[in-house]
Amino acid sequence: MIDVDELKKHYSVFRREPGLKNSLKALFFRKKTEVKAVDGLSFHIAEGKRVGFLGPNGAGKTTTLKMLSGLLYPSSGKVLVDGHLPYKREARFLKKIILVMGQKQQLLWDLPPLETLELNRAIYEVPMPVFRKRLHALTELLDIGPQLRTPTRQLSLGERMKCELAAGLIHGPKLLFLDEPTIGLDVSMQQTIREFIRSYNEKEGATLILTSHDMDDVEALCPRILVIDKGRLLFDGSVAQLVAQVKPEKRIALRFEGNSLPENLDSYGRVVATGAGEAILQLGLEKVSEVLSQLLARFPVKDLTVENPPLEEVMSELFSKHTLAENEMAEHALAEHALTENERAENEMAERETPKHEVTAKAP
């Protein structure tokens, strides 16, 4: 479905310092810097899969989505989406996809969302009976009956996002690019959107690529994640694999009988949270079964669950490891460079100190 090979997107950005003097200077001399938004990404995504793109701000997630959906021309590399070169933006390709951006909207601001849906019906050439059927299904699933007839500007953020999804899905796309679809929404609305997306994927067999800062979104929806940093792929696999690779630990959430906690709980693992008669321990994967049996044998445990550490923590660990590795490489390169410089200086000095006749003697 999606094949990406050594995909790159580099931008030229003009930089200038603040202040009037610098503004005037920038009129004549501009400093140009190259930004490597995406720097050699390669991956493959099969049809019908749900994949999450994770990474810090500026990692290149949105830029990648924009290249996959044909909004941006790649600087180099290959990208093929369902047999199409996205940047050609053929009508056949555009009819198969949708890019929903949490921070941008396609709904007409002063008109009810139904008008945007009508407009999309005409633009995407959806036959009227199909349109009616899909509209009915989307209205039911998203529970947006009254909102469809209210001017967009009068809808709440959550209502707008639901209508935005309806407008994006009315042509039945096979491929969904969702960029921060739950941004700014409250917890229950996030849940609704997640459930809807999952059910659309299951019913229609659509492929789904999601970027989100909300790790809950990704954990709930995506069996596979691609972690990107500075435009490069750091990890490709499941959440469980990521945890096992980066932070091989588990959390044990305990509820004891009564409101008090055992005194020496920290001898079993790191206590990361406590409450009335409740505690969460974090410990290495290899110790889990042993600690569990000890806890059950020694304390009045009413309830317990074992889960992965929060994805945020795992990601933060991954990025700090990556940054550390990069810094080490940079330091190493710097040291090598300094060494070469020293060697050159020493050679030059040695040459200067060498008596001329010796040099002459070496000459052919």
């Binding site: 959906s69 396609q106 007409l108 005409a122 633009i123 001017p151």
Partner: protein, 269 residues
């Protein structure tokens, strides 16, 4: 093309609904185009004191000035477009992305967006046209067949305005903003199109310059057809020149747009 024609009624209907929603803004825009009435008052006063001669040796008295500026108002309402402002906003804010994701060229949707404002503008323009006729705007004895060329000239004038807007709007991708450039275009338009004074009043050398530039074909030429102040031969020649400009600006728009898309960075989001 068949595909576009099929979706056209819905695009026009929704676009028109949007225009009605922006009716207050629309009204302000219409009021901002009343400059021809100010010019009419001024040039009537001048014509009363200084007799002038217009095209085909006809006198340009106060009544002729009235005819001229009423025609200017009507034609301006028909040949308006503001895609450059829309494009600048969408390129700067990255909202052009939403248009680019749809299987319909954004250029076409900008054109439709301009066209859907026409019915509201005609509500203002048609009564003025009626006054124009009642005041004897169609000169007795003039060649009425010129009016057959008017629809084509109005379409040509509108396309010149639209393509100029789109070409200048596309430049925003390269420079970040092209609003100043559009303002320069508008300044030249005010001078050379016949919007502020009849082109017949230009000295020969300035008339020559005006003849080469596209601005008179936006407005002045259709106004000359409506006021029947050309002979058929001259009208056909000007029509030919007008459509050459349409083709040239259309080609320029296409090239700039295609190149711009490769540079588009979809800012924000």
């Amino acid at each position: 093309m068949k595909r576009l024609l099929k979706m056209l009624p819905t695009l026009l209907r929704v676009g028109f609904s949007e225009n009605i929603a922006y009716r207050a803004e629309m009204l302000v825009w219409v009021l901002s185009t009343t400059m021809p009435f100010v010019m009419m008052a001024m040039w009537r006063s001048v014509a009363e004191h200084f007799p002038m001669t217009g095209g085909m040796g006809q006198p340009l008295g106060p009544l002729q000035m009235t005819h001229y500026f009423l025609a200017v108002f009507v034609v301006r309402q028909v040949v308006s477009a503001w895609a450059a402002w829309e494009m600048n906003f969408e390129i700067r804010h990255g909202t052009l992305s939403m248009r680019l994701l749809k299987p319909l060229s954004p250029l076409f949707s900008y054109a439709i967006s301009g066209l859907t404002g026409l019915p509201l503008r005609l509500v203002v323009a048609l009564p003025v046209l009626l006054i124009f006729f009642l005041l004897g705007g169609l000169r007795a004895g003039a060649e009425l067949r010129l009016l057959f060329l008017l629809p084509l000239a109005l379409l040509g004038g509108w396309l010149i305005v639209l393509f100029a807007n789109m070409a200048i709007g596309s430049l925003a991708v390269f420079s970040g903003s092209s609003i100043r450039m559009m303002e320069m275009w508008m300044a030249a338009f005010f001078v050379f199109s016949g919007y502020l004074f009849p082109l017949d009043l230009f000295p020969d050398w300035l008339a020559f310059v005006g003849d080469i530039l596209p601005f008179r074909y936006q407005l002045g030429f259709p106004v000359q057809l409506l006021t029947l102040s050309l002979d058929m031969k001259e009208a056909l020649l000007l029509l030919g020149k007008q459509w050459l400009w349409v083709m040239a600006l259309g080609a320029l728009t296409w090239v700039l747009w295609r190149r711009g898309l490769k540079r588009f960075e979809a800012f924000g989001g």
